[in-house]
């Protein structure tokens, strides 16, 4: 599920399947943006090969993805802690947004 790859020098990417039963709804979106904000990296997210990438630190934008169950979530990040950010966010989605998140 985790395919963190180092591409283009500073940019890290990862992709993961959304297994949450109701999709990217309020609770998962809040968890995801909260975690993203813990990193300094610039983090972008998109769902199922959408053309546009969007800010993973904005709950309004993440909700607007309208990502449904089983869509593929892609994360890309650049900046000092980008690699750790991608790994942490992919893990959060893969483990279905556990209550005691990091």
């Amino acid at each position: 599920m985790l395919e963190t790859s180092k591409a283009n020098g500073q940019i890290f990417t990862g992709s993961v399947r959304l297994i949450h039963a109701v999709g990217m709804h309020a609770r998962p979106a809040v968890r995801l943006t909260k975690l993203a904000k813990k990193f300094n990296a610039h983090i972008l997210i998109r769902a199922s090969n959408a053309a546009e990438w969007t800010n993973a630190k904005s709950v309004a934008k993440v909700m607007a993805l309208r990502a449904v169950r089983d869509s593929i979530i892609e994360i890309q990040a650049s900046g000092e802690d980008a690699e750790a950010a991608v790994a942490a966010l992919v893990d959060l989605v893969a483990t279905d947004f556990p209550d005691s998140g990091p």
Binding site: G23, H25, A26, R27, K57, S58, A60, V68
Partner: protein
């Protein structure tokens, strides 16, 4: 005592959102602030909104901490939005360009609310009331309204147009009280919070007087009475006491093996909307599942559900039930349940339109997926399948032919399947009147729609509450005919509408000859107890 004054007392009827009783001071709470404000320079306006946002954030955080659990999760989304630069930046940009702070804020929120409201998914739609809550909270500060939690007398019956969850949480319910909403919905977040706290709540009351001293709120009968006379209070207090006693006693009945009446066993089944409903603590005491709705599958993912999603849900329910019967109703979309890419748009009268089985037969591509999953799941339990909104025997036969086709194709693929027993919902008066023409294995009376079609009353229309009485003799006549025919022909007949869970309706249903009732899990104890009381010659 002055008779005229007694008669002049007003009573309103709504819909139950949370059962319970409240007798206390009547308080109207007006939520939406409309005051004019002094508009400053863009710099002043930015400071004003920054302060209002900070205050809102602190207030909500306090509420979330105090409430904990589910409530704090509901509020978490609002807190996150207040801290979302992508969301706030355009608002500050608009203010910078000269738009007053309150206008910039409210139009940004309106846009989001409209967006959520247009979502096909009920869950996302429900978020719009959280956004409206946030919008009003910030506007109250900006427009100079008092934004402190209103000082309400303890045990008050609070009346509002609608009430957002955060306002509900601000109210001190520790000494009781109740909630009476002019609009609102039994499925809202507030209703959920009210039920969790045992606060009586009645919604969709329509227009209610602005002023009154005291109020009686009866969540069981969905009534609000203002400035009651002593006689009304006596009646109310007796009902409240009876309710309290029956609640306490009802639980003792759950564990008893079976309800019986007139020497005959009454089978009590449950209605479920989705698999999770089986988690209700009382569900295990049911004699089976009388109605599993399947529309929830239509809202879970974008597009329509695949065969596997269907199968997993049905399989889970059949495994839970073991040997007990499980009646699954095929898609009942249309009417008040539109589904993108499935139901027809632009029908002038969707309740009399292409809905239920009519729609499924018109869309065999979608229907077949459901039938395949049902045929597979039928291998693992006592499955019965029922079709909704059937008008003529030809429709049942068309569905049967389609189902039999599906079964033979699956068998040809080497997949183990079986054709389950097939029955129909009896909810179209034409079907009830010609019930003997249907070659069904069972009948299930959908009394909500049946009553609605027989009385020609939309049951969500509060103005028709009196006319849409399910105990209308014409409705009972059709229920009786169906039950009697079932008895003669040896075909089981159950009833799965709201009547089955209403203690006032149960004597009539049993007198009609019904011996199977299907109710929400939360009503099971009460119904069992009601039947027990009746069998001992008591009154409900």
């Amino acid at each position: 005592m002055n008779m005229r004054a007694e008669i002049a007392r007003v009573a309103y009827r709504g819909r139950t959102a949370s059962i319970g009783f409240a007798h206390g001071p009547f308080v109207r709470v007006d939520v939406v602030p409309n005051g004019k404000r002094q508009i400053g320079t863009p710099g002043d306006e930015k400071l004003a909104i920054r302060a209002a946002l900070d205050l809102a954030g602190r207030q909500i955080a306090l509420l979330a901490n105090a409430a904990g659990g589910e409530a704090s999760q509901i509020l978490e989304f609002q807190v996150a939005l207040l801290d979302d630069e992508d969301f706030l930046d355009p608002i500050f940009a608009a203010i910078h360009a000269g738009t007053p702070a309150d206008e910039a804020w409210s139009s940004a929120l309106e846009e989001q609310i409209a967006d959520y409201n247009s979502a096909p998914d009920e869950y996302l739609q429900a978020r719009s009331s959280d956004l409206a809550d946030l919008r009003d909270r910030v506007l109250r500060t900006l427009r100079g309204g008092a934004n402190e939690a209103p000082k309400l007398p303890s045990g008050a019956v609070i009346c509002a147009d609608d009430l957002p969850p955060s306002r509900f949480l601000e109210i001190d319910w520790s000494s009781g009280g109740g909630l009476a909403l002019l609009r609102g919905s039994p499925t809202s977040h507030v209703a959920l919070l009210a039920r969790a706290r045992g606060i009586p709540m009645v919604v969709q009351l329509g227009a209610v007087a602005e002023r009154a001293q005291t109020a009686l709120l009866d969540g069981e009968h969905a009534t609000l009475e203002l400035d009651p006379g002593t006689e009304q209070i006596d009646v109310f207090e007796r009902r409240r006491e009876a309710h309290r006693k029956s609640r306490a006693a009802a639980h003792a009945f759950l564990r008893r093996p079976a309800a019986s009446w007139d020497g005959e066993k009454i089978r009590l089944l449950i209605n479920i909307q989705r698999v999770e409903d089986l988690a209700h603590g009382d569900a295990q005491y049911a004699d089976g599942i009388g109605l599993m709705r399947t529309e929830f599958l239509l809202g879970e993912q974008a597009g329509l559900p695949d065969e596997e999603s269907h199968y997993l849900a049905y399989d889970a329910v059949l495994r839970w039930a073991g040997k007990r019967p499980v009646t699954i109703r095929t898609f009942d979309a249309g009417g008040d349940k539109p589904v993108l890419g499935f139901t027809k748009d632009g029908e002038a009268n969707p309740f009399l339109g292409v809905r239920g089985l009519r729609l499924c037969l018109a869309r065999p591509d979608i229907f077949t997926v459901q039938l395949r999953a049902l045929a597979r799941a039928a291998m693992h339990g006592n499955l019965k399948v029922m079709f909704p909104m059937v008008t003529t025997p030809e429709e049942l036969e068309a569905a049967r032919t389609l189902f039999a086709d599906v079964v033979s194709r699956l068998q040809a693929e080497g997949i183990p399947v079986v054709l389950p027993e097939l029955g129909i919902m009896v909810e179209v008066p034409a079907a009830a009147l010609t019930i003997e023409r249907f070659k069904a294995s069972f009948f299930s009376i959908g009394s909500n729609d049946l009553a609605q079609y027989v009385t020609a009353c939309d049951r969500t229309n509060g103005a028709l509450a009196k006319l849409s009485d399910p105990l209308h003799p014409a409705v009972l006549e059709l229920i009786g005919r169906t039950a009697q025919y079932g008895k003669r022909a040896g075909i089981s007949v159950s009833l799965c509408g709201e009547m089955a869970g209403d203690p006032r309706c149960i004597p009539a249903l049993l007198s009609c000859g019904l011996r199977e009732l299907s109710v929400n899990p939360s009503a099971l104890a009460q119904v069992k107890q009601t039947i027990d009381g009746l069998s001992r010659g008591g009154h409900p």
